[in-house]
């Protein structure tokens, strides 16, 4: 008989990075490390408290998995109490991941909002790790509520801008005395940037309301739906397309997603692009 797919394996927290006042990145080493694709997710759980699905923010090929987790509820509050050496339950990987083969040889425009940079980071870093396959321009437009809420400082202001043909544009929703960058929402920023849809795929993730307006803005800027990829977030429990809650039309976001081409989303009933 197969093992119960709902049973987690043990993992150990090997590092914790404080990203902002309510986001921490946890480095976890599972007993049996699995290979994942950028954009895939895993279930993290604490016995007696709960379990939830999180995107894997580290690129494939490391000997650990990283998860950036925003403190918003009971489980994430408990996860934020974890320190190095603590035990955690993990199962996965789940979901389809980004279409990494389709993205080869394309200019990539990454559009992230808030904690939505977590799944994108896996893809950005994967592209940088495999520059021969992703040799074209990599452009990240990333916004957060405030300067303090910008995540992954070490990447977005540290390592990534140093790379060849990598452009990073940052925005914040509210002004700050030390901020001389763009102030406003990400979709507004997109309209001001010189963006060329030619041979470019836009990949976006953020809060549902941001995704909705980013999709509209990209269409306005001339990006056809076949060149827009988004990753969606739904409440999930099983992660394997059985518990029934994360459906978009006949598809389950946990299994058939979380990554969708806009051209495919437009064909199905959903609340992101009405």
């Amino acid at each position: 008989m197969n093992p119960n797919p709902l049973l987690p394996v043990k993992g150990a927290v090997t590092n914790v990075i404080c990203e902002s006042r309510d986001v921490k990145t946890f480095q976890i080493k599972p007993e049996n490390l699995f290979y994942h694709l950028p954009g895939q997710c895993a279930m993290l759980s604490l016995l007696g408290i709960g379990e939830a699905l999180f995107s894997i923010t580290s690129p494939p090929g490391r000997d650990y998995l990283e998860f950036s987790i925003k403190r918003v509820g009971k489980l994430t509050e408990a996860l934020h109490q974890l320190g190095v050496g603590d035990e955690i339950g993990i199962r996965g990987p789940y979901g389809n991941g980004f279409p990494i083969e389709d993205l080869q040889g394309k200019n990539l425009l990454f559009i992230g909002g808030g904690i939505g940079l977590a799944p994108l980071r896996s893809l950005v870093q994967y592209a940088i790790d495999n520059r021969a396959l992703y040799a074209n321009k990599l452009h990240l437009v990333y916004g957060a509520r405030s300067v303090e809420d910008l995540l992954f400082e070490r990447d977005i202001r540290g390592e990534w801008p140093k790379e060849r043909d990598v452009q990073v544009n940052l925005s914040v929703d509210v002004p700050h005395q030390d901020w001389d960058g763009f102030v406003g929402y990400v979709p507004q920023y997109l309209e001001q940037l010189p963006l060329d849809p030619e041979n470019t795929v836009a990949v976006t993730c953020g809060p549902p309301i941001m995704i909705k307006y980013v999709l509209k803005t990209l269409e306005k800027l001339g990006f056809p739906p076949e060149q827009i990829v988004t990753t969606l977030e739904y409440k999930m429990k099983c992660g394997i397309g059985k518990c029934g809650r994360c459906n978009l039309d006949e598809y389950y976001v946990c299994k058939d997603g979380p990554v969708f081409y806009l051209s495919d989303l437009l064909k199905i009933k959903n609340d992101f692009c009405k």
Partner: protein
């Protein structure tokens, strides 16, 4: 296989079942608190045992379906205790072999539909184990009950893929016809402990075929056209969001996974959930893709009559009529089919 046996009455069958009680947990439909449902045979009162005959052979299913025998309303799959930082996982209760005596065709069919979800990879092993350890004895119906619509959904009231078919002769004698290897083995076991005689199987009642079957793809197409219809808002005005439909529906299989702990002990379990509840899709961050009752109601009927067809090629309804009987405001698959105007339900 397929050679039938008969015994003189349901009582003599139940007596034989009693003798297998050491090996199987045996359940049959009876009355409890004036509600029909399956109860353990060895825990029934005399009156409840007497009531089995009428309920098992009624021309409608009991109020509670058989799904809980394969997919319990609550099922623990991790049990642990904690001492300081050390966590010990404890062994779980093993599902005992069980016999469901007196299921109806509609319910047998509903389990086949849930199979399509839970037995598709990755296999739900908890469900699979209960499936393998359960023997279903189904009774045939001789006419359609008040709310029954099984034939419209392609279910034969007089035949099913149950392990054993059970029929009652005109003198109250009981005929058992095994249809699977598991069923064959059980009938042999019953024969060794009870008084059975090999016989020709009882002719299965023939329904006149006047009821036309719904075509899944046609219903799916009708639903597609009705996605933006005002019908969902209208139904949501009366729906009270109680979730009764989902708990009694034999094909509803949505579940939640929850943890519970107290002091140094705890469990992780899965439990029935309902897509009719606001919390079903509400995320910790506050976003809810189905925030209104109309969204949820529409999603439920789309799952049964549209999404399941697209995914599995079948309607996810067996026409058991429980929603029609139990919904406090009279919303049911049949009433929805009427409102979206199917070929068979011109309003």
């Amino acid at each position: 296989m397929n050679s039938s046996v008969k015994t003189e009455s349901l009582d003599s069958l139940l007596a034989a079942c009693d003798r297998l009680a050491g090996k199987y947990r045996i359940f049959a439909p009876t009355l409890e608190d004036a509600v029909t449902g399956f109860r353990p045979l060895d825990a029934m009162t005399k009156e409840q045992r007497k009531a089995v005959d009428a309920i098992a052979f009624a021309n409608k299913p009991p109020v509670t379906s058989v799904k809980s025998f394969f997919f319990p309303d609550s099922e623990i799959y991790i049990k642990f205790s904690r001492e300081g930082r050390a966590v010990t996982q404890m062994d779980l209760d093993v599902c005992a072999p069980q016999i469901i005596l007196g299921a109806k065709s509609c319910d047998v069919r509903s389990v086949e539909l849930i199979d399509k979800v839970f037995l598709a990879g990755p296999i739900d092993t908890m469900y699979q184990e209960r499936r393998q350890k359960t023997i279903v004895i189904a009774t045939v119906c001789h006419e359609m009950g008040d709310n029954c619509a099984c034939q419209e959904f392609g279910v034969s009231p007089a035949a099913s893929a149950a392990d054993v078919l059970m029929a009652k002769g005109c003198r109250g004698d009981i005929y058992l016809t095994p249809q699977t290897v598991k069923g064959e083995q059980l009938v042999q076991e019953l024969c060794t402990v009870g008084s059975f005689a090999v016989c020709a199987s009882l002719p299965i009642p023939v329904f006149d075929g006047a009821v036309e079957q719904l075509v899944a793809e046609q219903v799916q197409a009708r639903m597609d056209k009705s996605f933006d219809s005002p019908v969902w808002e209208r139904l949501a005005m009366t729906c009270i969001g109680c979730g009764t439909c989902t708990y009694y529906c034999p094909t509803c299989h949505c579940y939640d996974i929850r943890d519970f702990s107290r002091r140094d002990q705890g469990v992780r379990y899965r439990t029935w959930d309902s897509c009719m509840f606001l919390s079903f899709t509400n995320m910790a961050g506050g976003h809810n893709p189905r925030p209104t009752r109309a969204d949820r109601l529409r999603n439920r009927f789309f799952h049964k009559l549209n999404y399941f067809v697209k995914k599995q090629g079948e309607l996810a309804c067996v026409g058991c009529g429980r929603c029609a009987e139990l919904c406090p405001v009279g919303i049911s698959i049949s009433s929805v089919l009427k409102q979206i105007g199917s070929d068979l339900h011109e309003s």
